[in-house]
Assembly symmetry: D3
Homo-oligomer: 302 residues x 6
């Protein structure tokens, strides 16, 4: 069960109204790398987790991320507080209000007109949050890797936001939030490597002949190699003909159909077959007089 304390996990001190900056902050409120995505990723994993220790860790961190969602959302609300009042009370000349909400040049008009200056679960471009951002699949060795990656990404987005923010109070709070992503990544790393073995994930082993091959599918003048395809654990395959139909078959697709189905498939194929020749087309009809290049005999039209 969740409980709530009216105090924030981190005090929010905003220096001045700034709807444009508010809008950028939405990236970590309702964006793909933001706090709702983090909270929901760990919370949903926790619900299906059977290991009591990991379940507890996931709930600890999910709950903290909800508290971070509250911090970043509160920052947005403070930065927008004045603009919200001005629009609701229409305390100014209309033209000035228009200028205000479009001045940022960064989608803050949507936040003002549609959401009334409140923090909405959208990213900084106004795209609504979607659970498609959550990549949990119910296997802990995968989900922990997903969590590690997610924390790394969130750390960088906070770093970028800090790099474009001059408000000292906001920067300080962002610094706290960024740091916690580092700490969470460490926890998830520990949890992943507490499961042994964890690679490859799952129970089924790889098919031996394809596990150590590296297919050089992109080729150019220089043959660039690195640890990802060089060394004795790799078999490097750059011959095009060894990259195709690697099972030794004909590289074609087949299905055995019962004769009744073969019959209808053939009839469909015949009905829709391409005839040879050079048919007049809609483009020919529309190319206008003298459009010689578009068909062999444009004069056949008309």
């Amino acid at each position: 069960m969740f409980m709530h304390n009216e105090k924030l996990q981190y005090t929010v001190r905003v220096a001045e109204s700034n709807p444009g900056l508010a809008n950028l902050m939405l990236e970590q409120f309702g964006g793909p790398q933001g706090e709702l995505a983090a909270a929901m990723r760990y919370f949903t994993q926790a619900l299906a987790e059977d290991d009591p220790g990991r379940k507890d860790m996931l709930l600890d961190i999910a709950t903290e991320e909800l508290s971070h969602l509250e911090i970043i959302g509160t920052i947005v609300a403070m930065l927008n507080k004045g603009a919200k009042g001005r629009l609701a009370e229409a305390a100014e000349e209309t033209a000035e209000l228009y200028a205000t909400i479009t001045r940022g040049g960064n989608d803050s008009h949507v936040t003002e007109v549609l959401y009334g200056g409140g923090p909405a679960l959208v990213n900084s471009g106004g795209v609504p949050w979607t659970a498609a951002y959550i990549d949990s699949i119910g296997d802990p060795t995968c989900d922990l890797r997903s969590n590690i990656a997610a924390e790394a990404r969130a750390k960088i987005i906070y770093e970028r936001l800090i790099n474009v923010t001059t408000d000292a109070g906001v920067r300080e709070a962002l610094g706290f939030l960024m740091t916690r992503e580092i700490a969470h990544q460490k926890s998830f790393e520990k949890a992943l490597y507490s499961i042994q073995p964890n690679f490859p994930p799952g129970k089924l082993p790889g098919v031996p002949e394809y596990t150590d091959k590296y297919y050089d599918m992109s080729q150019g003048e220089v043959d660039r190699r690195g640890p990802w395809n060089k060394g004795k654990q790799w078999e490097y395959v750059s011959e095009r003909k060894e990259q195709v139909a690697v099972d030794g078959g004909d590289g074609k697709a087949s299905v055995k159909l019962p004769s009744a189905e073969r019959g209808v498939v053939d009839r469909m194929k015949q009905r829709l077959q391409s005839l040879d020749g050079d048919p007049i087309t809609g483009a020919d009809l529309g190319a206008g007089p003298g459009a010689g290049s578009t068909t062999a005999e444009p004069t056949r039209v008309g």
Copy 2:
């Protein structure tokens, strides 16, 4: 530049028509952990990558994933080939066709009616693929972690599909595809650890006092600890009052508004303030006679 060879990277041999199974296979065609997501994740990273070695690796693997997209899509097409013909030519009794497309009980009706039996970029539930699945953010130490996690997830989805498939040819092809995810994960791991240091990602260091703390936000009868919060590198914080306002402030939010904005904010607040008392509400009006519990004085209505 891309080129194409008519042969598949792996020969596809499907034993018989099976629209229901076709539908499950869509999970790796147009699903979040599927081959299009993989190909586009690496391809978009490659375009912005400055390191020539990593760029080459990303293009190699992106190109191979496109070739896998072709394999899994071809499996779908083969499994649906007969059903497609039957629906297009309407070669049967109507009632039987209805039974056929709904028999699977697994959304294959959408594939048949809307997409005509062709492989569509949807998951096995019919949800269209979205770029919201792609989590690249343009920092290699993050993106490589995302790639590692993505390969791990894709490996498990293939394992699950193998576990529910009886068609030997399909299982064999799925085994190849599953194995390549293992190989790709290895490459991305090598690429990540070739960048040193890679943790924490980015340039900004964490704020020291918050980097090693673990907040015990979820509490119960038993205090469960693990490597993710135990050991000398962790400071474990379970006192509720040490979890709140950790900066030592008052845990409140504030913004300095110019007096004009303060004025409108106050006016708005006053206009919309909650009055004390026990107002009659719409629920009271709708609760019907004798609905005593919903308001203190229902007789006040009318």
Copy 3:
């Protein structure tokens, strides 16, 4: 700040594995009328709310909804627990597993294959949750009405789920969750009517001549009237010609363009004007011999 207690707000006792039922329950986990939508609706409103009493109420209820999200998600996890194990460990014959995950006929295959039996933030049809479900706009008299409506809807979805569930423990928990929606609706009703006046919402009054009119836009043999258009407060307009251009103007659209723009607009119009006549079309080319009805002079082709 949020905190978490390992105990649930309501004990969950599930009688037996039932992946099909689990899938229906997702409707209130990740569906539009479900608990995440409720929690996020009130939480985001709370962050921007200036009235301390309403803010507190919104946080109380948001926190309780998160606790309900945990209950319904836990029900899903329990109903799926066995199926999750079977798929992960592949403890059975493949054919039986296939039957298991598609038997429900209600999208449970997606939950199993993609999400591994964990509760995912999707509705019972597998559609990912989106913040587009949240209709908060930052005005309390609107948002409270939205909350009242949302609670009413959630109550009904729980009622429907109860009506299709035979598991006694699940029914009991659903009964609790349904009841709380009633209680929350009452709170939001009280909060709405504590603001006076609250209708019409906002500051701008309606234009008097259009406020009390009812336009009878759909007409048939019988003239059906009701409290929504009958009585002295309504002016009923059923003459078609009084419904059009109600401002007394010509009902047309106009814009004053500078002459330079008028020029380009005219050029565009001329370039793209429709010529009179009976042109041969692509449909004519494709209609085949003797397709007399599709064009006046099919013989003109070829």
Copy 4:
């Protein structure tokens, strides 16, 4: 059946080209509180409505909302008419065109480049309209509440648009549209309260012991109370231990599994259990020399 009159319901007189303003207007064309959402909400309710009077009302208002969609879309088209011509005919210097379409700072570039200046079913941030905005669930006492709330929201969005618009003709048309939302809200209120009883919605009553409780989930220094939790109809629960496991159970989750399922669940749990200890992790490998804080014994690597 629908019919159409070439005249608008309200004459549209736009003073001058203004692509930036056009873009804001899209909020009520293809936005969540806009006219398409309104029309489709009532239209879909009408189709399933059995009460002939309400069905007629829903069709009346749906038809009027379609007519409003036409008005607001026409305003967009007029405001964009000049810009559309300039881009299509490329009548200017390229640099000036670039400036034109990005000048607004409010997403008008998308409207111009992608939609060619025509009104598109997107909101003012360019997000495509989705039926996820529609919250009808097929119960009239819920749907009417949803309609009341929707009209209230739409009224406020029009008020905001009026507050930022200086074009007199546009303001006048917006005033008409805003006013009609007030009138529609009144109709839906009358329709709701014509159904008695309408609270709680549906047939199932609430569970008595949970109907009148108010759980004080968010707590702080001050205990704020209001009509939503104060008065004789409320039982106010602020003790944390009375908020948890309110059914008197242990607050845990359980499911009875057959022994075969218990077996696989146990095997899975064992395979994926967390080992105690302090494993070296990927973060340790990546932390670089001297990164003492991230693991207890970094020297164990290598």
Copy 5:
């Protein structure tokens, strides 16, 4: 302005309750090729259309498509009418209701539980309608081609629905709807070819050296040619080296950066460069003892 007549454009006679069939019908109500998409495609084009004749045609057909939306939605409502009553009144044993709503095996459970048996703007898989389905771009020669294609697609979806429907009244109504798509396609064809020239669309001509080339990008054992790449209007390019860097350049990408930017780009590149060697990775840490194939020197761990 729109008006409405209570009569349908086509009488709907449904033989019996059939929620499963109702669900399939949703494909043309809220699906991508359905009537809402059609109506909105033509309606939005009409609003921005300057040619009075085409504008009138677009409004004629948009209005008819809305009338078709009403027909198909009414069919859904009739097929679901009984099921809706049963679920709302819970007139049966719970187990039987569960069976009823999941029996179809085709997502009808979502329609029942979430939408209460009313027609919802979703496709037959439950995916909400989105304006992303609408491809209008504000150029009539493009939009008319889009309309032609859309009508062709809608015709086929109706054909498929007819092929799986046994209810005579539903088939008859579907036949009418299908036929009207044919008629509309003819109108749009006439309208397209009334604009001359209409190919290529727009004002800018193609670059001559690339207009008639056909690049044979997919190659196999057999060289298949057809009217699309054969004949004197085509220059067929199958040599791989003539397909790459066709402008005669080096096929590389370059940008001129000011020296300050070159500096930071170089610093970033250096910070994130890949080191050579064979680093121990997370996969190595997780591969378990004896996992020889995953790294050259696994013994280096620990």
Copy 6:
């Protein structure tokens, strides 16, 4: 199988950093008319295509579109290369960075903060790419029409981008890409008209009495006619009464329900019927003193 050559199909020479222009270019990278949509449209069609010639053509063009995706994405990467470095290395004053990323006024802030300057699969407004853009339905005569329309649309978007771009190298590459859309449209036209007959698509003929009718649904002062409704192949129906219930029935909807279902439907109807009278409503309660117009007898309240 796909292969990749490190060289681009067309050399990319960008004159200078320009994040604002980069953002516009995204329209053809991840927008609805962009290269991914094109590639995936043809690729998915190819997989299900049985005609070997058409399949080869679809793969040729799909592969070329992937190569174009690479070109346009590379242009984005070059235009953003400097900005990416500046943000990652934070080489400037914070305020200047903020100005940089919001200066464009065209959503480039999203590209920078969220995607780090890399090309993301979003349109120029930041909306993620979705497979809902792809309209393939598995019938070649429809899909080829869809392809023709798609190429026409893409041509125009490139034309618009050229019209707003001053960078000579970018313009040249855009010119190449635009030209190839013309060539592809020609190929698809040839392929469509190689299938005879191709109109109407599919096997079922239209119902004769509705095939040639044109319903004049939108009426005004002037009767505008054109080739789309004029000529001997059209029967023009403008009488309103001939447009309704065109089958000669009563224009109503009916379904035969078994008596048990009739019973529950009647009970539901009775439970939810609208009562006559003039009920006090929530709006009355909220309208405040003296709000005479909102109800007939406001004094009844209180």
